[in-house]
Structure formats: structure tokens, C-alpha cells
Amino acid sequence: MSGAAPRITARLLPEDAGGRGWLIGLIAVLCFLACLAAVGAMAADRAAHGWARQLGAEATVQVRPRVGETGAEAAARAAETLAGVTGVSEAEAMDRKTAEELLRPWVGDAVLPDLPVPFLVTVRLDADAPASAVTLSRALAEAGLDASVDDHSLWRGEVERSAGLITILAVIAFLLTAGAAGAAVAYAVQAGMAAQTALIQTLSLNGASDSRIAWLYQRRYGLMAAGAGAVGTLAAMVLVAALRLLGGTEGLTPALPMVWMDALMLSPCPLLAATVALVAARFTALAGMKRRH
């Protein structure tokens, strides 16, 4: 008998001689990209909802004066009417100067004096229970005003559709990244099993089930993916934090507003990477064992 306690916890699967470094690097990069896709989707969604909320909180009314009434009078009457409608916080007739300021960037100074500038009323809607375009139109009609209401629903719809599209693209990018990581793990498991044929047969002959052998690969690559995923995620967190720190709430651009929570939201990514690796390793190893019989 030996005096010192012999080693009894050695891993049944030997450390690979090579081929692990590239996989760790690849999974770290893929995890980093997946994190960026997720942050991009969250930021785009946040921007879109912000814009939609802003657009939804306002409406613009164009008033056409009746005979014997000036445009400014008609606009003032419309503003007064709309101010009393439930769901409207404030209604203000836009004076010509303000309207010209809005148009100047589009038409220039040359034609502005001759342009028939529309008579507009800007309406701020109640954030909690905004009045609908139909309600506003009905109130204007009842007051004998010829006017058309634009509640920005067209733009709002476009913005929301764009945000939805960006989210879908981000999810696809995320899934493709996960698929690529899974494929890389599957390839590594296949290569590992091919190199360890004798070991696998010895384990099998000594009573190891296919599931037990598959577990050896699952644990190996699951832990590896968790570690590599943590590196990629940490890098993405640092980048997001840096953008938030340098750019404030708007990050680098108002189109991608960032918050500190974005960095924290990435924290499950190593776990996801490990899950992808576990699943890929298990299916690959079990399929490999089946082919051996």
C-alpha cells in the first residue's frame, strides 16, 4: 500500500494536445458578436419606442379658413376647441413665423414669402389617455371648422415596423451565432472522438454507457464554452459601458440609446454559450457512439 493517497479524481478524458485554443477564441468572438447583436436590438427597440411615444403624444391639425375668416382666426378657434377635448393637454395655433421656420430647411428662403403656408395647430395629447384622431376630427367638425388631423400614426407605424424588423434581424443574428458556436463545438467533439477511439472503446468495454461517455464531452466543452463565453461577454460589457460613459444616454447616436442595464442584461450569455455547447456536444457524441456499433 502506498502511504500517500493516490490520485482518484483524474479526468477520464485526457486534455487535448491541441485544437482547444482556436475553439476558445472562436466562441469568445461569437459570444461577443451575439452580445453586440442583443445590445443593438435592445437599443434600437428603445429608440423606436421613444420615437413612437413622442409621435403618439402629439397631433398636427391643418385648418382651412372659411369665407370671411382669416387663417389665423380659424387656427385660433381650432386651438380653443381642441383644448377642451378630453385627452388633450394643450393645443396651440402655430403662427406663420414658426411655420416658416419649419419649412425653411425644405424650400429655402427664396420661395418662402410666396408660399401659401398652411395654418396649423399643434396638439399635445394626454400621455395616459390620448384623444384619438377621430375624436379630434369630430370636435372640429362640431365647431364648424374645416380641418384635417394628422395623429402621426403613419410615421409611428413605420417606426414600430422598423424596430420590429431590427429586432427580428438581431434575433436571427443571435441564432446564427449560436448555431455557428454549436457547429464549432460539434466539429471539435467529432475530431476529439476520432482521436480518442481507443479510449472510448476502453471506457465502453469497462461498462461506460454511451450517455456517460457523451457526458465527458459535454462537461469538457460546456465548461470551455462557459469560460470563453464569459470572456466574450465581458468584452461586450466593457464596450457597452464605455459607450454609455462616453456618449451618455444616447451612446454614440440617438438611434442607439444605451443604458447601464444593457451591460447587465448580457450576463446570461456565458450560460447560453455553455447550454449551446452542452447540447451540441451531447448530440454529436451520442451520434458518434451510435455509428461505432
Partner: protein, 236 residues
Amino acid sequence: MPVQPRTSQPAPAAADAVRLEGVSFGYGETHRALRDINLTLPAGSFHFLTGPSGAGKTTLLKLLTLVEQPTTGRLHLFGQDASRSPRARLPGFRRRMGMVFQDFRLLDHLSAFDNVALPLRLAGRKPDSYRDDVEEMLAWVGLGGRMDDRPPTLSGGEKQRLAIARAVVNRPELILADEPTGSVDAAMGERLLKLFQSMNRLGTTVLIASHDDALAERSGAGLLRLEAGRLVEGAA
């Protein structure tokens, strides 16, 4: 007319450890490694399987360890049909066997202790429950002082003893050994034979494939002889 087995064993136990009925096996379409083997190894029996190189001894052991499946015929292990066992059932059969391979099949990255402990570990036993058994077995085969050493540092004879220790450590019902004394000196060969005999006395069925006819004769065990894939002595 079938030749009756020469065996030193008493009447067979209720269930046969091994029964082959008309088993043939071929590598490819033309090469028949085994032909129409009919063989019964009663539980608790001790047999030597002899024959010249290429006679089919290793192939027969491959069938018994379920590495290969018979091309035709039926193979029963421990009273159960194992001829076409699905993979899920293989560990159940193999955990009841101890195998010694001609090429040892030791795991080079594990210590001698871990190699011997392998079947116990794979059977789900905790290290604390088998530590003493493994140490005792290693001491018995003369490797008590080399428990932490890895197989590449061991001599051929030491590897062989290590492989035998691994095969018997879980006290299997059936021991299948392919040339287990091929790499050891005569004294150690006798000692290892005694180990198999003592395992056999405890009720373990033993089948040893060997070129060493003298050892087989000396052992007093039952003799099976294969020639050109046919069992010419010891057929059931």
C-alpha cells in the same frame, strides 16, 4: 461427433455464463473467422481457449465482450440473449465481466490506481468506497508501490498485471482474458493463474485464451481448442 469438454468443474450452476449456438462470424463476405461454434460455459467454470495464431481465439473473445455481433447463430450471456443487443444494454452485460486484452488497453493519462479503479468508477461507486479494494488489488499484483505511476512508465509485465487487476477488481461474474500471461515471467504467470483460480473458487467463470498449452494443461482447467475458426475440442 462433438467433443466433450474436459473440465475440472463440478456440475454446472443453474444459469450458464456463456452459451453459443451455431455461432459464425466473418470479416467481410468471404473470410469466416468463426464457423458454427456451439459452446457452453457453465457459471463457475474455468476454461482455457487454445489454438494456433489466426484460429479465431481473439475473435471469439470479441463476440463474448460484445465488440462484434455474430453473423449467424445466437449468443447468450448470463442466461440472456446478447446476440443482437441494442447499445443501451451493453454496459449491463459488460459490468458483469472483467476483460484482459492482449494490448492491455490501459489509459495512459491515468495513474495505475485510476486505471484499476475505472470499472468501479464507471459503475457509479464513490472513491471512498473502492479505495481500499483498489489498493489491495494493486498490492496483490505487485504494483503497490507504483499506484501513482502512469502506464507509459511501466514495463510490459507491469502493464499486464495492471490490466489483470483492473479486470478482476469489481469481482465480475465472468473473466475473459486474452493471453494474460504473455508478457510476464513464469513465476508471475503462475501467480496470476492462482489469482484467476482463486476468483474462480469464489464462483467467477473464467475463460483464458492462450498460446501456452503447457500452462493450460498445468492449470487443470477445461480445455477448448479452436482451429481455423472451428471448435475442435470442448464443443458443447
